[in-house]
Amino acid sequence: MTMTGVGYRSVLSGWLNTQPELVQCLEITAEHFYDPQHETHLQTLADQYKTCVHALGLSLGTPGPLDPNQLNQYARVVELTDPAWISEHISYTRSNDVDLGHLNPVPLTQTYLDALVDHTREIADRCQKPVILENVTAHQKPIGDIYEPNFISELCERAGCGLLLDITNLYINSHNHHYDPKHWLAGIDPELITQIHIVGYIQRDGKLYDSHHEPIQNEILDLLDHVLKTSPVKAITLERDDDEVTPDQVTSELTRIRSRLDGH
């Protein structure tokens, strides 16, 4: 059965302590728990929920060695939570010169494919957990000579990892960069899709943005339906990031997701 869940946010902690029925899987953002003072709380969450651990800052797309300090901290969070799987992004956040702090698309070339493969294997070996990688959204359409679904497919095959399909990111990119998301999905083996991220977008001046603050639009739920027809997804995670989100709002969104799941 496909689990539904949320990414852990402190504003929801009281509600999550009640272990609501619709939260069957809790995604832990690793960087939020790097400080040792959070270890007890982290272990409590891991005792209450089936977890997956998601990182933001390992910058797997940057050629060269991973930041050892970040890797050690990430591995520590994984060790404390014993998640079902771990995840990062098909992107880079830093170079040797500067830490940009947020996700940027990697060029779709052999060089960066090789870097992603090597780094994905490295974190899998280090953490001894299955790894899945997430597609990102960006104002820049990725450059390079490899078609993105082919890039992802080869990455997953060579690295032995799965795909964390951010269905909202896919929808946003397809709108902003003018392509058909279903055609893009046709280039991905559905068996690779382990987890889905989903949330609403905002629209401004004809472009879509991933604010992580909005209810899911119906067209994104329709795209979710399309994926669920063929993909044995294990978990769908609602990614509401705003500090004012309420348990009622999250429950409503998870209910909408569950009703789509029940249709398959």
Binding site: H41, P63, D97, L100, T109
Partner: protein, 193 residues
Amino acid sequence: MATENTQPKPTIDWLTLESRLLADRELRSRFILDRQAVAKEQRLSPADLGLAEQIDTNQLEQQAKALIDKRYYEVAELIPLTIQGIGQHSRDLFDVYAQSNWPTGHQRHLTDALQFHTHLRSHRAPGLCRAEANRLRFILDERRCMCRLALDIPIHYHTYPGLELLWRRKGNLHRYVIRLALGKSVPLTPAPA
């Protein structure tokens, strides 16, 4: 025989150049005007020259702006009273600061907020909330406790002059405020979240 002065300088890959372009507005402006010149100046590897030609510079500009926007959003969440205090130019002021400051590490947003606060203070910007900076220093310095005097400690929907005691217990941050009769309280409008 090659000497140190005649050794060819190492080249950089496209990702390194792109990260410089995203972080440096002046470099980006020159790249938009003449990609090949900037690629040569930055010693971009010949293998990656094609990527320099492919990149859509409008989209590159939007991506660069988005990176600053995301930082500003995070900082505004951490020092809301300071952002409110400096008024409608807060985003422009942040832009000036952010171009040459790129904090690292998993606490980068906290560092960003504190460094921005320090930047504003060094430029004598009015409307800063010292209590917010004190709190950030306490978290970043990993202190067990701290006691600071501030004239603008937020309590409910006002700020007050007082002595603020911050301490950690079981991973949680606690605070206790002793209000001092040094001046009037200032109402916060709108009331903070």
